[in-house]
Amino acid sequence: MQYSQKHLLGIKGLSKEDILAVLNAADTFKVYTQRDIKKVPTLRGRTIINMFFEPSTRTRTSFEIAGKRMSADVINIAGSSSSVVKGETLVDTVKNLEAMNCDILIIRHGEAGAAELAARHLSNPVINAGDGYHEHPTQALLDLMTIREHKQELEGQKVTIVGDIAHSRVARSNIYAMKTLGMDVSVVGPPTMIPADMEKMGVKVFHNLEKGIKDADVIMMLRIQMERQNKTFFPTLREYSNLFGLNLQKLKKAKKDVLILHPGPVNRGIEISTDVIDGPHSVILNQVTNGVAIRMALMYLLLGLSDETVN
């Protein structure tokens, strides 16, 4: 199985084979990350630029560790310390970075389509590390890897995603990926946070948490994104937490072997209670571990194809 794309801009448009190629490679890379010597010489002499225009610890560090474990040189650029604050356009910034011969550009940006815009002006691979409300493809891939690790199969698994679906790039990328792989997806949230066309994508909609998680094999809790809540979609945080927050009491309604995922960072006690985060169903930290393997796999696969005209 081969990854057939030049970039990773989103999950939409990837085939089942593309997704599985990344997951299979990541399973192997994970073994390397558990050795005493975690570094392999594969990308020696390659340069990877990690450009983050939005705050992040997990994703940025994960990409940095992934690159370093493959022996690439990784350079981090924070949006706030780049020439963008002097008025340089994104395209100009990206072209200048390419002029310094970077081999992969990783970009996180607050605007949807930023990674795609960069890709249009670059001859080298671009990885979208999250663009606005649009997509966060590496998160979806590491979520799938984590689910597959615990449930063996992906096809047919019932997944319930809970929270602000409309403003979640994690949910969007996951829904695309899960539908492509033949998984059964439901979403739970207040009507103001569920996009109107969900059923058309083959996704079931619930406005009641207990009903939504009853049959689920996997529950994915989304973070209430305080920084994006300039318009309020629910009356109070406490009400949201009462209705849609996951705690041990509500978890009793779910299957015994249900998996709990959360893309992080978690708001403890708001969308998910502390005893659930630290409880036996939670694989939140496995997700973080797998994130490194997924990103190593992607760097490996993307640089292998970078000289070919694919896609």
Binding site: M1, Q2, N24, A25, T28, F29, V31, Y32, R35, D36, I37, V40, P41, T42, R46, M70, Y300, L301, L303, G304, L305, S306, D307, E308
Partner: protein, 178 residues
């Protein structure tokens, strides 16, 4: 028809001889382990392990190396080979290791294998067993145990087919397509 350079019986005899040589050279099986290089070094190593068991009644430890991430010819624009796992289920530190591969050619695979092995620890020594040595070395690497030396031209291909991977035992010399 491509000439058969080793048939099933000849492969089996070569492996028998190499097994004896390994035991002789190392004065027994103490502190000794076999490591097969994917893909066909693995069945080769397993057969050596079985043969040594029948000679000395000792089952040597067996490891598997996938050297894909240690290659020096990656990123040449071709799509990557699928990587598979490396499994070294014993401490490498202070162990004598016999690397096993089906064909020895440029020596670059062995260089990568030694590099990867060193990431697991400091072996007491590394020896090299190969079923076929076809010459054309590009690095200063030589085998300790050879099934058969076969002079080849650089454009020819040696195809080792082993039961475990290919359903038959045979080594053939293929002239490269014009």
């Amino acid at each position: 028809m491509n000439p058969v350079v080793l048939n099933s019986q000849q492969i089996s005899r070569a492996i028998s001889r190499i097994a004896h040589e390994i035991v002789e050279k190392n004065s027994g099986c103490d502190n000794l382990a076999l490591v097969g290089i994917r893909t066909r070094g693995v069945p080769f190593a397993k057969r050596l392990q079985a043969k040594i068991k029948s000679i000395e009644n000792v089952t040597l430890q067996l490891g598997i190396l996938d050297i894909t991430l240690y290659r020096d010819d990656i990123q040449t624009g071709r799509s990557h080979p699928e990587i598979r796992s490396t499994e070294i289920p014993f401490p490498v530190e202070e162990t004598k290791i016999v690397l096993c591969d089906d064909v020895l050619f440029t020596g670059r695979t062995i260089r990568a294998a030694i590099d990867e092995l060193m990431d697991f620890g400091r072996p007491a020594g590394v020896q090299l067993a190969t079923l076929i040595d076809r010459g054309h070395r590009e690095l200063p690497i030589r085998p300790d145990y050879v099934g058969k030396n076969i002079p080849t031209s650089k454009s020819q291909l040696i195809k080792v087919r082993l039961n475990e991977e290919d359903g038959e035992d045979q080594v053939i010399l293929v002239d490269a397509p014009q």
